[in-house]
Symmetry: C2
Subunit: 600 residues, 2 copies
């Protein structure tokens, strides 16, 4: 394992020059946030992440969690780190001051969340889920629920979970069987079993607030008959402190490929008289409430992809600088570190370019979310909201697929050492693999993108996204004298054209046969994500070129030139195969639909 060095300069650049922090902090209600504060948050957060969380990443992976007599023990150091995390106030950045939050933009909390996830993905899942549960409660909870639970969840004193999945109900939540019955006193009794409950039980906080999907008696069948319940591990007493133990427990914790330090629980609710719960929001609207929150969780999972990539990249670069093997390809000198080999640099640049593109996507979506919530002009809010909804499946899926590939390349850079667990590269490869699966598989993201975001409004949002891409591409014209930027722009034009054609194909093909767009959905998402990545890296490259033109002797010169080189690499290496997916989209559904199910 190498140490984690928070990439503060990279993050600051992405905030300032890609996502547009300046515009975000000037939104109404964010007056408290300033660029200086952003720098201070990154600086302090980086210290906490690298000094407290990162050292527990490999040890937590090796130790895993332990369940004995219903008591779930997280790896050594986790409870103390969590207490320190809460004491430092990190959980509350983006919450409303009314509930004890710090009222900062999503964009800033997104950058902070990158730090936690990069340092320790397993650990970071706990605050990530707590935050999601708290947001849902802020939106749909009763005043009483908010009064009792929200401040404790915002502070992190109590953690939160999402209880959706059951053995027969994963992607298809309409199949949920957990039942809830009114107890007559405003409370409900919940009975049923849930699986894949991350941090469903643990020893890091004094209470756990489960958000549980269940069916009321006589509820309509399917997704329209699901309600949402708040079910705490300990029922709050009159003072709001954890009181009586609720009738729920963790039956087992899964033996998983990765994220070993994050418990993944089978939860039993109501084995005796029924777990006590309270309805959140409206009856039978549970899924709609859950999805309002899940979009933000999806953005957060995309950020986890960025996190794994950053960590894998740092480790691979460190190894490639140290590992001596062979001759320098340029000079012929023996005893060269392998970073002198062009193919190793190709691998590292692939990792780096995907990391930067993923970060650019995740931060940009966060900035759009801030704008969609706070901009004074309603039309701007609506437009940004449509775009962020369009981008959500892309931000969830593209960086998480990229994380699996990048972690795999990270092992490859290490050669044989990469396959040895002690090296640490393998952990990233194992941990990364959950990201394309949870919070809606990437196949579901692709269906969402094509079905709900592209086709439902007849292509209106997709075309407005394409228009934004074209404006971004046109802005590169100002730097046409830089051959690197000219090359980026040329490839980007090809990419936008391909995405535009693929979009029109989807809209047309869907009229004849609804299966055809679904067969093309995953390549379409891959194309859209890669073009969007090139667009944002191009924006960063232009900003870097502009800064260099103003001050060619800048102390940041090497950093800024690397920005341009990385964006060009993305455009020349990663964009062309994605552009080729245009043909796959247009022709590829035929061979899929031609193959009978029985023939597999």
């Amino acid at each position: 394992m190498t140490d984690y060095a928070p990439p503060l300069k990279e993050m600051q650049f992405a905030l300032d020059h890609v996502a547009g922090l300046g515009a975000v902090v000037s939104l109404p209600g964010y007056g408290y946030a300033t660029p200086d504060m952003a720098a201070a948050i990154l600086e302090e957060g980086g210290k906490f992440a690298s000094q407290v969380l990162a050292p527990l990443n490999a040890t937590g992976d090796r130790a895993g969690v332990r369940l004995e007599n219903g008591v779930l023990t997280t790896p050594e150091g986790f409870p103390a780190a969590y207490r320190a995390f809460v004491e430092a106030g990190w959980p509350s950045l983006q919450f409303d001051p009314e509930h004890g939050g710090q009222g900062l933009p999503w964009l800033l909390s997104t950058a902070a969340m990158e730090l936690w996830n990069t340092a320790n993905l397993s650990f970071a899942l706990c605050p990530m889920l707590t935050q999601g549960a708290a947001e849902m409660l802020a939106l749909y909870g009763t005043e009483e629920q908010k009064r009792v639970y929200l401040p404790r969840m915002v502070s992190g004193a109590w953690t939160g979970t999402m209880n959706l999945t059951e053995p027969q109900a994963g992607t298809d939540l309409g199949e949920i069987r957990t039942r809830a019955e009114a107890a007559g006193d405003g409370r409900f009794r919940i009975k049923g079993q849930k699986i894949f409950i991350t941090f469903g039980e643990h020893d890091m906080a004094e209470n756990i607030v489960h958000m549980v999907l269940a069916r009321l008696p006589d509820a309509p069948q399917g997704v329209r008959g699901i309600s949402l319940f708040l079910v705490p591990k300990y029922l709050p007493d009159g003072a709001g402190e954890p009181g009586e133990r609720n009738d729920l427990r963790c039956l087992s914790s899964e033996d998983k490929l990765g994220i070993h330090a994050a418990p993944t629980c089978v939860m039993a609710f109501g084995e005796a008289e029924g777990a006590v719960g309270w309805l959140v929001g409206e009856e039978n609207q549970g899924l709609a409430h859950m999805f309002a929150m899940m979009n933000n969780e999806r953005l957060a999972v995309g950020l986890q992809g960025v996190a794994i990539m950053e960590r894998a990249y740092q480790q691979a670069v460190a190894f490639a600088r140290e590992r001596i093997q062979g001759r320098d390809e340029a000079t012929g000198q023996p005893g060269a570190p392998i970073i002198r080999h062009a193919d190793v640099r190709r691998m590292l640049l692939t990792m780096r370019a995907k990391t930067e593109a993923g970060r650019a996507l995740a931060y940009t979506a966060a900035a759009m979310l801030d704008t969609a919530r706070r901009h004074p002009d309603e039309a701007v809010r609506a437009a940004e909201n449509a775009l962020v909804e369009f981008l959500t499946p892309i931000v969830k899926a593209w960086p998480t697929d990229a994380a699996v590939e990048t972690a795999s390349i990270g092992i490859q850079v290490h050669g044989g050492m990469g396959f040895i667990e002690e090296t640490g590269a393998a952990q990233h490869y194992r941990d990364a693999r959950i990201l394309p699966i949870y919070e809606g598989t990437n196949g579901i993201q692709a269906r969402d993108l094509v079905g709900r975001k592209v086709m439902r409004d007849g292509g209106e949002t997709a075309r407005s996204f394409l228009a934004r891409l074209r404006r971004g591409e046109a802005a590169l014209a100002a730097f046409h004298q830089d051959p690197a930027i000219a090359a980026i722009r040329a490839r980007l034009v090809d990419g936008i054209d391909a995405l535009s054609e693929a979009t029109e194909w989807l809209l047309h093909a869907g009229k004849d046969d609804p299966q055809r767009p679904m067969a093309a959905a995953a390549p379409y998402l891959s194309l859209a994500g890669t073009v969007a990545g090139a667009w944002l890296l191009g924006r960063g490259a232009a900003a870097a070129r502009g800064a260099l033109d103003v001050d060619s002797g800048s102390a940041d010169r090497a950093f800024l030139e690397a920005k341009i080189a990385t964006a060009r690499f993305f455009a020349e290496h990663l964009l062309p195969p994605a552009i080729a997916l245009r043909d796959t989209i247009a022709r590829g559904s035929d061979p899929i639909l031609a193959m009978p199910v029985e023939a597999f």
Copy 2:
């Protein structure tokens, strides 16, 4: 874990209609082999693989190996399975009858080896390495060495290892420090430490024959000063039976990401008086001798990629048929198995198409190897040999990169269940990851392809390979009335054009700057492998079409139509992004070389 069903029909089709078993068995010296015998070998081998080896795959992964007081214990069942493997005569298929072998073509032993690897990759490594060591001994050993060792290694009674790597000498074997000194009695004393020695110690056979690279005193520096030594665990006594224990031992066994049942040893030679060894071949020619053998090992590793893909595919298909989730996309019926979703079929077809292409590549290279060794016409032998050398890095790298991707898709098809170790999909993902690394990383394969195979002879072999591809493409013209075959041919033409242009670019660019072809080597290999896969799947599709045209009511109709559909999917989905690498190759070295090493 699902059971392993040996894909006998798929294998027989690849033997007969892609690799050309008929031509191979008619080569001189293979008269003993017949198509009937091939079918019987697959049938019996399939039983052994599925009934004896496959059930130990998951249990071996969970148990791992144990080293206590120098005694290395393999997982329960492994020693008994190995004894049964030896008793059934499976290790000796392709060896010369003079040494106790069965004199069968490489092509058939390749098919058998696929069975062992698919059933149990860890187990299969032991016979694979033994076979490599035996081949080397058959080529370079003295008569006495061959008399004592070869029959026992051919039968599998004794196993073999390759001792190359040292901590400072991985890819760069010129850095080897292990020393050998003549003891005056024709024997040598070996002292040094080796790492990453697969099956360097185990409890499955009565003796282990280590092939060790070491330096003689006053040997020239670097790769020209390395000699090869045979160093047995037990010195054979007068009767050739295991006698005195040699001065060598396993110091430790690595904790690895995958292949847990295969020991990966740190070996100490000569901690006391020096391990006793014998020179194999000529002094200072050890690396050349090793490479003569290593080419075959590289083909075998490519086959391991096929094996992992086949197993992952079978498991994913079984899950996709059983798992009920959501509505049938075509009919709208609820309660559909997920294989009814087009995107799931896209994932399964990707897995299937890569598996078939990898098998076609591995079998075709094996058939070429048989032809290169046995064809009566020297010119044909030379031409086939050049082609098999050209194909070797492709056959090693393409299916092993594909195996990592395919195993990853296999997890994805399972959704959350795929991340749970008990499901078994994760083992393939972990096991697969070693394949792009060992026997020369895939980056090294790409350098070999570009530097030694394409550029060294000025493109002659590459152009003759391209000519063979064009003949294959032209042969599809006979079936132009089948739109699927016409589509395959159209894409294949694009692919061959792209590979041809990329080849000429490499030859040209290398004149200016030797770094530029190296920067483009990996994308070049990827392009070449994908085009070669499309070529061979096209050949199979044409054979299937031909068979259907002769007998449209064939009992094999569904099987033959699936062959065509899979080849078309490969051409429409997997080939276009590879063709786009033409641009990456031609333009992509600039941004790599533009990024200073310090800027990472």
